[in-house]
Each structure stands twice: as structure tokens, then as C-alpha cells.
Symmetry: D3
Subunit: 244 residues, 6 copies
């Protein structure tokens, strides 16, 4: 099985780190192809960054479909371009936020999300609503560290900052599990879990595992209705290659 | 006052028709600048088309901000790129779906939407949910005519097809007003209204009027929180010009 | 165009102040007729005051319809008598709470409301739910000043009290705009906005502008269904003149 | 115990019929005082009728409080003036719609409402939402008979018309009980129940019984918060007697 | 009238205390039969305890139906086995949580719940959602005392602990009434009410009164649809006697 | 890895069939232990059957935990005893309804459920609400075949009956995938899918795969909060062995 893991931003080091987490989750019998767009923002911290990054995600999914990959992961916590990407593929397309939410809801009655910037909290809140998970989440909490600073801060300090928020959610809101709300935290679930005594879910691993499950079950994106292949039409300019 | 009206698809004739409707709504003291992206799909009929078109919308908003326009309209019924566009502008940014929904909710307790393709119904339903308008809408109905065929069909036949759905909504669901769910229907509200005996709202006119209202009130997009200007960062490749 | 602005309480000074705000918003080409009921409470601070004031609102709308006014504003933040008033009129009828909520939702993803008394918070919360705006509001906050004391307190002190709540909503709840929750605050949006750095919406101005928009678009209250003119019937006693 | 049953319209025959149903429900140890306002509409079939009738309800509640009655019933299916009336009384105030919904939800997982006019369906739907009962109701169905024609139609024909709708709800929507949606149907629950084989709830009886329960438990309207007695203030004109 | 009051746990002293409260509520003309299962947990403090206790509840309801009792009360705040028990009986079956919520919603616009353990808060929250009462509740608060320690603590201390939470809900959340969230608090409503100045509802009394109301109205569980008698089938082992 | 698959009813043939489906899904490296309770109903077709069956489920989970199984599946579409079972186990506990819903929501924007009896539709609807999946489901449809007749009917006829409902959901409601709503349909997804041209999800396979995923990720039920091990206490009678 070949699973394409798309980091929607253009950061090579984050792509590598996400690839590592994905491979660790996937196991030896699945080939993980980690990639990121050629064109787009180096980090995603708002609605605008997301909208531009979505195009890169779609380009990568298109390449992945052409290469015959079996499933496609969108490895940014806002799941940019998810429904659009599903139109392009017959295989499953999974966002890391949705994957993490679904998994968390199997482990506890209420989970909390710890993400990077307060500015992007609304993105997670909109996804919780859209996926039907709002009632299952006690709060979306932020460590207020920019995505690209996650690496420079160092894991020790980052774990501490995440744990601080997670413990607040556990002790004051009754959260029974923690969702890590950024692809750049994919290396940390074990350490945070040890620190806070709760199951901690990284969306990258969760999405890879769910993609494997769907492929193994012979299930893919519904090609009936709004997720059918895009209607053939003329695209102009830079996007001309999308036309058909 | 200068109001930029962006047709998110690349159809020149639809841009012209939207521009006419916008100018008719705006009145003589407001300059309407109708435009469409250089790059993108010639019609928008699904999640994928929307995601690509959103980039064109953002390019146009960016140009419009640089040109000092006072407000920006996204004239496709899925409101593609709306929150992202708001990050780019201090002036108001209004989608025609949200404008039509808000206006309709001031005229009746329940309205219906008549749009083009069954395939895109989910897009309108998601917007109704996201804007808090789901309970105010009896149904989203479709005439099942492709966007680019709206013009070739001819207004008479199109009015008839829309009226057929509108009358169903009026007589069987209690809809008190009709929202036209496509920028390509911007010329038709008066004729449909005469035919079905209900207020009929075209989102292009509604959005232009709401934009004028906000500008005249001295109100613009909140620059505090998630709609503040995008954080400066490196963008690569085709999107390099977005970096800062 | 003639827009009737109805202060539902009987305070002459508040009627005058609301009229000033309405005229400032309406501009020179629209005639604003500010009025208040002859009969009813001098301020509205609860469900009971609202229910009585609604009759005065309906009497005024009736007079306004007879006088040929084009639109009708209900200038109390509970929108008393709104749906009933819509039955009486073919022109638009707009409440200042609904107008403010709709406008605020175009400027930010989450707004806060600052109103007068804790006692009336539930009224605003019910309206937010009824209009589909509950998810778009972070909280309804109260300065705990009686409506008639708003004037005696003085604008400086009042702005300070409002700003105190608004800053809490901005900094701790992520509110991106502030809705002023009382017709008696209609003079203050600019000063509060300057103080807190957010868009601030006064419902009186918002309602007048929305009414103008609807009239200019040729739109009025749907006369099909539950907002059709009241069924003719006998009314007895003090309300005999409502019969037909 | 003395329970005041207020018919919000001015129809004497309907007041008598409601009083009969109330007395039958109340039993011998409770005195039922059936009354209706001196002033107001002779039937209630829309938002406007409701708003005017609410004043009459409040006048009657005020008299009833002065007379020392223990509880107050609002016997029109829209529960007009309910929260306002609660401000006036320390004893319980119960609307027949809310009473019927609560009782029905104890008997089945989904009930249906059969009311008079299609025009007023929205009123019942709003109440279902406001009381948290929307999910427990399969539909609000209408026999499309004017309130005052209920009497002239004759019970046989009326039972048949109600049963027709009730059977549709039972067989096609899975409704397990039927709520009669009009004070003018208070004599019919037994006959409709026999006809459709489901529990049938009349709100007048339900409200009287719930009021007795609350009084016997020593419970009354909370006088803390938004249902405390109205704040003393000046009322002018026809409503001057409400001031204090 | 004979009302069966089932304490779902096996504590004899709690059964006695619940019986006392039920008899006080029921009055002299109703016979209260207080009972508890032979088999099951001695207190109910979680989902597991509830699931086991539900069987005991069903056994008791079955005996109660055979004995010709007119109504059945499930006197544990999680309402364990409620829908299942309704299948067994033609008479009404009422849970004390649902009874308390319905009664509270007739007295105020927002109530609070004070229950025993933080661990069981989710059970009350799920019920509020299931019954449509979530919006009517400000919060579920816990005194963090184990059910069986309620008795040893002594009423004075217990009232104080409950009042502490109730006052927080009253003063900081606007709660207008308090629901006691445990059958073991059935003796306390008067004392807590005196202490906090709000109506206080004990579910045992509320359920008994509602059951009487339904029986007196000739209403019982709908035997059409999902609450019809269980389909006859083979049960094996310890549960063989349930087969038919 | 050892996964315990619990058929909550006592039918040996259904246990065998569920075991086959589970093994087919689990693959060679996972040992599937299919079992059913000794005591309980031979099929589950209502709230009562569910409540009794839940005890059998808990007994089996308890044995499974003692035997060191890594995960536990509840293979009846009502997920009986799910939260209670989670209290007993550190490993994951998955219901087949929740598994199927989660998987379906990854493949389409709206799915439909086809289950056995109209009587049990409410159970699926309650689960959809409880899991946050109601908006993602177009309808719950029933073939109206008793659970134990599924086998005697024969697969051909059963596939046809399911397909009939599925095609209605696909063509009239826009369903993009079908969830099979009964453990007794676990053999059929491929045949139904071929017949209706949509992805078809069997919950048994879905639950087994999700359980494997969680175990492989090192995730289990949160032992903090309401899913912690049951508080030790005395159980009497037939349930004495649950005490501690």
C-alpha cells in the first residue's frame, strides 16, 4: 500500500518530521510518500495561508492519483482543501484534524485540543462544528508559539507548554484525552501523554492508520454526488492544467 | 465609493452580467469595478472548482486593496475564499450567499434557495449552517442546469425552471421568499418575483448594498483576531508574491 | 424615502437621541420620522415592559403604514413586536438587535454584545438563538446601568463602562467586534470603537441602513404565509380599532 | 387551591369550553376561575393577534394575583405573554403549549402536533425550539380550520379532520402521541385518542394539572433574575395603571 | 392510585428515605410502594453502575406491572433503564432527572443542577441534551461527596455544600432555580431553598407528582412504535424469565 | 493482537457470522475471539432487549479483560453498554454503529443507514445525535425484517431489500454511502455496494479495524474521569461478582 502524506506548507524540515511520524505509524508494509507543494506558504497560520496552501494540496493529490497512490493525507490541522481533494481521488483522503477528532472520540466522552496560535483557534472550532465534534470537545487551547518556532523552541520546552494547557483542560474541564493541533507536534504524543496521564492523539499517525483501514476494507471516496470527479471544464492561466 | 465586484470564475460574459446587476444596485454615486481572475475555472460547480477559484478571488482582492477600493464582493454563491479575503482587506468583504441569506431573513421567517446543480446543493447547505441560517431555510432546490448553460437556455426558460421550484417551496414548505443561488441569475429576481408572488433576492445586488452600508457607517473588517492581516512569511513558487 | 424610527419606550429624550442617530445614518435623501408610543413604559427592562411596549410599537407601525412610510425601525434592543409588526406592513420592518447582529457577523467571526442590565441579558440571548446568531457571539455582557440612567451618567463614564466589558470580550474571548445592546447607546459607537480598537455597531444606524437597502432593492416584508396581513376579525374594548 | 385559566381571546363560548375542560381536569378540590380579557381579538391566528392578546393576558394575571389566585394558565397554544406574565406572579404561570409538550415527551420518544391554520404553524415551531422540544416532535400539522369555525364545524367533523392528520403522523413519521394545538380543541382528546389509538394531549388539562403539582410542591416562579417582579417605573396613557 | 417508586440501587436506607419523600409528595390518596432491586450495586456512580442497575429497575417494573401499579418512578438521577422500562408498562414511567428538569423549566429561564460526584456530571449532561434541556441549564455542579456518604455527612453539612454550589450558579451564571441531582438529596429541597432564596426541585417529588397527573389524565406510555411491549423472544440463562 | 468481538445477543449462528466478518477484516496477525453472552435475548430489537443485553456485554468484556484481550467490539448496531464497558477496560472498546458512522463520514458528506425494523430506527437516530453524526446522515431506513429472519430470508432477497432502500437514499436524498445497520448484515457490504454503486460500510469490519488502529497506536480508553475503572462497591445477588 502506498500512502501519500502531504504537508500543505513548504517547510522541508516539517515535511521530514511529518514523514517520520507517518512512517512510524504506517509500519513496514506500507510505503509512505511524504511531500509538500512546490508553491505556497512556509507555514499555515490563518484563513489566507490555508486558502493558498489548498491549491498546493490539490496539485499534490493530483500527482499522487497519477502515481497510483492508494490514499492521501492532508497533514495540516485545518484540513485545507479536504472536500476538493476528495473530488480528485477515488482512494480515501483524510485530514489530520478529522482523524484526530474521530480517534479521540473513541477514547473518552470529552477531549481537548492544544494547538499553536490563538489566531487559528477559530479554524479548529469551525472544523469541530463541521465534523459534528463540537459537543465532544471541552476547549481548543493555544500555546501561542508560531508554527516555525516549534522546532527552534526545542521539544522539552514545547512539551512543557503543551502539558500546561492539557492539564488545565484535564483538571478544570474534565477532558479525558488531548488532541495535538498541529502537524509540527507529530513527534510529541508519547511525551505529552507521559506528562499529563491522558491518551494523546497526533493527527498524522491517526490519519495514516485510518487511511490504511479504509484501503484494506476496500473503501474509498464516494464517487456519487458532490465528491464525484470534478466536472470537465476550461481552466485558464496558471491553472490551465486542471482543465479537461 | 468604489466597490470591487469579483466574479470568481473566468467567464467574461458572466462577469459582464454580474457587473450590470451590481451597477444597477449600486446607483450613480458608487463606482462598481467588475472583474474576474485571469487564472481559474470558467464556472464553479463543486468543491474543487471553488478551491481553485478562491486563489483568483484573493489575487483580485489584493489588487483591489492596492487600488484603494472601499469594499469587495465575492460574486459566486459558494462565497469562495471569504474569510481568507477578509484577512487581506480593511474594507468590508461580502459574499453573495451570505448577503442574500441575511437579507432574506429580514423579509420572512423561512426562505428557500433555488440554485443550479444538485451536485452543489451541499455547498449552500454548509453555508447556511456556517452562517447560522439553516433553521431559516426550508430547502435548497436545484434546477439542474450547468452554470454556463444558464445563458444559452434563455431567460424565459430559466425563469420558468426557477419558478417551478420556487412555487414548490412556497406551497409545500411555507417559504416566504426565494434566494437565487447563482451569480448567473443576477438579472432575474424581478421576473421570478412577478411569477411566484414572493420577494426574490439576488445576492449580487444584496452584497453591493450591504457593502455600501458598511462603508457609509465607517465599518470594515475587524483587524483584531483571526481576520487581522496575514502574518508575514515566505511564500514560494507561483505564490511568491504573497510573501512579505 | 421615509423611514419611521420607533422608540418603543415613551422617553422623549431617548426618542430624540435615537432620531439624531437615525438621521446621521440615513443621510440627506431619506426623511427620518422618529416617534414613540403615547402609551407604555418609559424604559424597557424586562419581558413585561417589552410585552406592553409591543402594543405601542404596533400602534406606531399602523400609523406609519397609513402615512405611507416606506420602512419601519423598532429601536429597542429586544426587537419587541417584530414579527407582529411585519404582519402590518408591506415595507420592511427591522429591529435594531437583528440589524446589529447581521452587520456584526459581516465584520468578524465572533462578536460580543454589551448591554445595560444583567436582568435583560436573557432577552439578547434568546434573540441570538432565534436569529441563528448564537454561535457568532462570544457573550452578552452588561454594564448594569438602568436605561434611564444612561443619560444622567454622562457619556464619558458610560463609554468607560462599556469599554471595560468590551476589552474583556476582546482579550479573553476573542471577540472581533462589539454590538451596543441598547437604543440609548446610539451616540457612542465611534467613541467606544476608538477606545477598544474594534468595530462597534449601533443597531439604530444599522437598522436604518438595512431598511434603506431593502427599499432601494424593491424588497419588502413577504405577504405570503405567516407575515401576511392579519386576518380580519373583531377586536374589543381598547383594541377595537385593530378589528376589521 | 384557586387556579386562574385565562383564555387570551375574547370569545365567551371558547372561554366557557376551556373552563369546562379545566374544571374536569382540576377535580373537586380546586377552584377554577376561567376568564378572558375585556379587550383584544376574538381569536388568535398570527403574531399580531398574539401581541395584542398578550396585554389582555397580563391584565388578567394582574387581577388574578390581586385576587390571591395560586396559579395562572395561559390557554392559547402560542403561550402569548408567558415570560412577561411570570414576572407578575409568584405563583406558577403555565402555557398550554409548553404543558402539552412536556407531558407528551413523558409518553413517547416523538410526538406530533395537530393545530388549526397553516399560517400559525411557525408559532408552534418557534415554541418547540424555544422549549427544547424540536427534536421530540415529528411535525406540526394543520387542519386549516379557522379558530372560530372549530365550533360551527361540529365535533364529529373536527375529530375526523384531526384524526386524518394524526394518522399520517403516526404511520409515516412514527409519532407516538398527539398534541392538540389549540385551546378550542380542549373537549376532544378522548375522542381523537379512541380514533387514532395513541395518547392525545390537550394542553388545557395538562397545564391545569402541572399548575396544581407546582402549587402542591410549594414551588412558584423564581423571583430571582429575569422573572423577578417588573422594575417599578412610569407607564403612560392607557397603560398608566401598570406603573409603580 | 398506586405509584411504584424504584430506588435503582440496593441501599435500604436510601430506599426508605426516597419512600418518605415520595409519600410526602403523593399525599394521602395515593399509595406509594417504595422498593429497590434485590440484585445490583449499592450506589450508582458511573455508567457501569447504571447499566447493571437498569436490570434491577426492569425487574421491579415488571413486578410492579404484574401487581397492577398505576405508575412507576425511577428514582436515580441518571434515569437508568427509562426507555426500556417504558416498553414494559402501559402506565407512565418517569425518571427523577427528567421530572426535575421539566418542572424547573416551568419556573425560570435557566436552572442549575447540583449533583454528587464530578465523575457523574457527564451523565446529567447527556440527559439534558437527550431531553432537550441543555440550553435551559447553566451548569451541572458537583459537591464531590460519594452517594453513600451523603447520609453520614449529616444534613447540615450537606445543605451547606449544596448551597455553596447553588449560590455560585445563582450569582455568577444567572440560575433561577436549583435541581438536586441525586435521589439521596430528596429530603433537602426546603432547607436548600431557604438557604439560597431560589426554588429548589427534588426529582423524587417531581416525578411522583407528574406520574399522578398522567394517571389522572388517563394518559400512559404510548404502546405504538418503539415503546410498544417488547417483541416476544427467547431469553436465556439468568434472564430466561424475560422471554415470552 | 487479540480482539474480542462480542455479539450482544445469544444467537450462535449470528455470533459465528459476525466472527467470520471480523476475522476477514482483522487479517492473519490478529486473533479474533468471537463470543456472546450466556444469558440474554436471542435478538435485540428495542430498548428493553438492549438494556438486558448490556449486562451480557459487560460480563463478556470483564472476561475479555481478565483474559488479556487488547480490544473489545460490541457487535450490535445499538452499541449497548458502550460507555459502561469502557469503564471496565484499559484497551479500546468500540461499538459497530459508532465505527460505521465514523468511517462513513470519511467517504462522503452525507450517508444513509439501512437497518432492520422501523421500531429500532429511534435507537440509530439517538446514536447519530449522541455521536455528533446527525447532520451527516440523510435518513435511517428500514427493511422491516426481524433480526432472526435475516438468515432465513436468504442473502439474495436481503440484498435486494437493502438495495431498494439504499437507492432511494442515493437518488432522492443525495446519500453518498450506505451504513448497514445490523450485525446480522456483516456478510453483505460487497454485494450491496455492487448493486447500488456506493461505498457500503459494515460496522463489524469497521470496528475491528478501528480497534486494531488504536492498539497499534498505543491508545486505549481514557482512565481519567468518567471512564475510569468503576468505583469499588458492594453488588448484591446475581451481580455480586461485580463488587470489589
Amino acid at each position: 500500500m502506498k500512502v501519500q502524506v502531504i504537508n500543505p506548507n513548504t517547510s522541508q524540515s516539517m515535511t521530514a518530521s511529518i514523514g517520520r511520524a507517518a512512517r512510524a505509524a504506517a509500519g513496514p508494509d506500507t510505503q509512505v510518500i511524504a511531500c509538500c507543494p512546490d508553491d505556497g506558504p512556509e507555514s499555515i497560520e490563518g484563513h489566507f495561508d490555508e486558502a493558498i496552501a489548498a491549491v498546493g494540496v490539490l496539485e499534490e493529490v493530483r500527482k499522487g492519483v497519477a502515481a497510483g497512490y492508494d490514499a492521501h493525507i492532508i497533514a495540516c490541522f485545518g484540513d485545507p482543501g479536504l472536500l476538493a481533494a476528495r473530488e480528485l481521488a477515488r482512494g480515501p483522503v483524510i485530514g489530520i484534524a478529522e482523524a484526530a477528532f474521530h480517534v479521540a472520540s473513541l477514547l473518552c466522552t470529552r477531549f481537548a485540543v492544544v494547538t499553536t496560535l490563538t489566531r487559528t483557534r477559530i479554524i479548529a472550532e469551525h472544523l469541530l462544528r463541521n465534523y459534528g465534534m463540537a459537543e465532544h470537545c471541552t476547549s481548543v487551547r493555544c500555546v501561542d508559539i508560531a508554527v516555525l518556532e516549534l522546532e527552534t523552541l526545542g521539544d522539552d520546552a514545547l512539551v512543557e507548554r503543551i502539558a500546561e494547557q492539557a492539564l488545565q483542560a484535564r483538571d478544570h474541564e474534565g477532558a479525558g484525552a488531548i488532541v495535538l493541533g498541529c502537524g509540527g507536534m507529530a513527534d510529541l504524543p508519547a511525551r505529552v501523554s507521559e506528562r499529563v496521564g491522558l491518551p494523546v492523539i497526533d493527527g498524522v499517525a491517526a490519519a495514516v492508520k485510518l487511511a490504511q483501514v479504509l484501503v484494506e476494507m476496500g473503501l474509498g471516496t464516494s464517487k456519487h454526488g458532490d465528491l464525484a470527479y470534478p466536472l470537465a471544464k476550461r481552466f485558464s492561466g496558471r491553472f490551465g492544467h486542471f482543465g479537461g
